[in-house]
Symmetry: C2
Subunit: 345 residues, 2 copies
């Protein structure tokens, strides 16, 4: 997919928000508008539209479903920032920081509800169910992640279960629903059976593997990239005591001094979280510890092993595509996976 096409999708999504959403609730529309304006790669809309084209090369490029998928994603980001008490998103002040948690909770709810209203009006079974089920899986994953905060015994299995739910399900649903809508229009059939179509299953598998690789990359970037590249403070996960793959793998190496350091960092971060801002001295110590953990993670084999995991899932995503007839769309979907091995740091 050329960058011109990517821009075209983006401008369609933006125009749609401006026209449709603004009429119903101007305050929420302007909040959403400002998030869209701050950027984002638009991977989810692209996967949605390309999956439709992969199932029917004659499929008219339909920006609606793709826009709805992006809006669901934005709604989850709005609530994520409340849950994580994040101040910065995409290099800008986050909505909860700008407008308060109260507004953010309601704005996210409104966006979910509004998108579901539109989707149930426009799409037949099973698309609305796929999207609702996906959203419940995302929340399920977020709850599991929240409960795993600070848990240094979190295993790889639990980590992959969490990121499968909180991240990969959305990519999978983009691919699956894009494909199903195209097949519904092409074959004039609706219903649950389309979920078993081999092309739909292959695209869903592609989306899921893509999503896993995407989240592992995101978790590695949090450790290795700087604030400018991330559009949010570096090492946010460690500050929030979120246990992700780089840390899990580094802890598995069994370096006792490092494990102690992480335990101290997390204990201090938890106490600080409970007690509010610490003194200058404790803040200085916390910052030293954080830097030491980051330095260890960067130099450890953990980052290289994460990149290996990313390569494995990227390969799995490409392999899923090979079940489909080769087309411009499948080539573009394969090319999208190249972004997963880009580490601009």
């Amino acid at each position: 997919m050329t960058s011109a096409t990517r821009d075209a999708i983006r401008s369609v999504v933006e125009e749609f928000v401006r026209e449709e959403l603004s009429q119903e609730n101007a305050h929420i529309a302007s909040a959403v508008w400002s998030m869209l304006d701050a950027g984002g790669k638009g991977l989810r809309p692209q996967i949605t539209m390309l999956s439709a084209l992969a199932c029917d090369s004659e499929a008219v490029e339909d920006p609606l479903l793709a826009s709805y998928m992006e809006l669901i994603h934005l709604a989850t980001l709005i609530h994520d920032d409340v849950v994580d008490a994040a101040n910065i998103r995409r290099g800008r002040t986050s909505l909860n920081s700008a407008q308060g948690n109260r507004f953010s909770v309601l704005a996210g709810d409104y966006l979910f509800a509004w998108v579901f209203k539109k989707i149930t009006q426009s799409y037949d079974s099973p698309v609305p169910t796929i999207l609702a089920a996906m959203l419940s899986e995302i929340c399920n994953g977020e709850v599991k992640q929240l409960r795993a905060t600070g848990n240094l015994s979190l295993g790889q299995d639990q980590y992959f279960e969490i990121i499968g739910k909180k991240t990969a399900q959305l990519f999978a649903a983009c691919a699956e629903s894009g494909a199903i809508v195209a097949l519904q229009r092409k074959t004039k059939t609706t219903g649950q059976a389309l979920r078993d179509d081999p092309n739909v299953r292959a695209l869903r598998d592609y989306g899921f593997a893509f999503g896993l690789a995407f989240q592992v990359r995101d978790d590695v970037l949090d450790v290795v990239a700087n604030e400018t590249a991330l559009g949010k403070p570096a090492a946010s996960d460690l500050r929030e005591r979120k246990v992700t793959l780089p840390l899990i793998l580094a802890l598995e190496q069994g370096d006792e001094a490092f494990c102690d350091l992480v335990r101290q960092l997390f204990t201090a971060a938890r106490d600080e979280g409970n007690a509010g801002a610490g003194s200058e001295a404790t803040n200085g110590l916390a910052s030293q510890r954080l830097q030491a953990v980051v330095t260890h993670l960067r130099s450890a084999a953990a980052v290289e092993r994460c990149r290996e995991v990313i390569r494995r899932y990227t390969e799995q995503a490409r392999l899923a595509l090979s079940a489909l007839p080769r087309s411009e769309a499948t080539v573009a979907l394969a090319a999208l996976t190249n972004t997963l091995s880009e580490f601009s740091f």
Copy 2:
């Protein structure tokens, strides 16, 4: 409807939550379970089931839709308590107080998504759209209410717009969707046209008028009832600078001393909200002012005028029912409106 039937509906809803929800996310299920266990009159499930019976006396009493409506209501309560920073709900510690805002945001999201998954699986058009549209209206109303915080120029029109969206839409959707599902089963038809069926429209009108009366009563109770009767601190709305009908009507009387007092109360409450807990002296002053405003509101003509408004909407709800063939169900729906004029204080 006898109290035995009411208990039957309640136990079906509870059993459903225990069995269905627990399998998917035990933590969220136990949170929901504890809210259900704390009580609530179950008006929404009753209106859903009775509306079905009013359209088809042979309708099998279907607890599923009624349960989903109660769960949507619970999900909105969970997020409301985050938005209002409420500590007490139905006489118990609220979920946000017990488990934190982060968990509450996710638990509410999960519940919305899970209910929509179930509804899109079980009900044909237009029921999923009615419920999604209703939820977006609720959020829209909540956003408007949040933006109206502390606005002493809020007019009656704006107040009724807010409560129409945040409260009455849910009662209207219970009645409408209950009726539509019964007619779909009876006539084997689906689709948008059922929304124009005269009986469906009459029941929707009943639900909407019922909801308006319900919310005005709730707002009056906040002023006149005590903590034990409310299951939460008295005068919560005034503490949160929420402008409701009793206050709007009292301010309209134009007693300058009273208007000044309310302005002082709200300014102090806003500053306190910004600065955290105040000193003992300022807290004492705030408490005196609050008590003076409450005393004025109780003695003013405002409460009597609110009861007049409640009577008017109750009458409107009953009038809507008169368009339907008289049946046990319509008699029970009419009887439900009696609860609206009960003021146990």
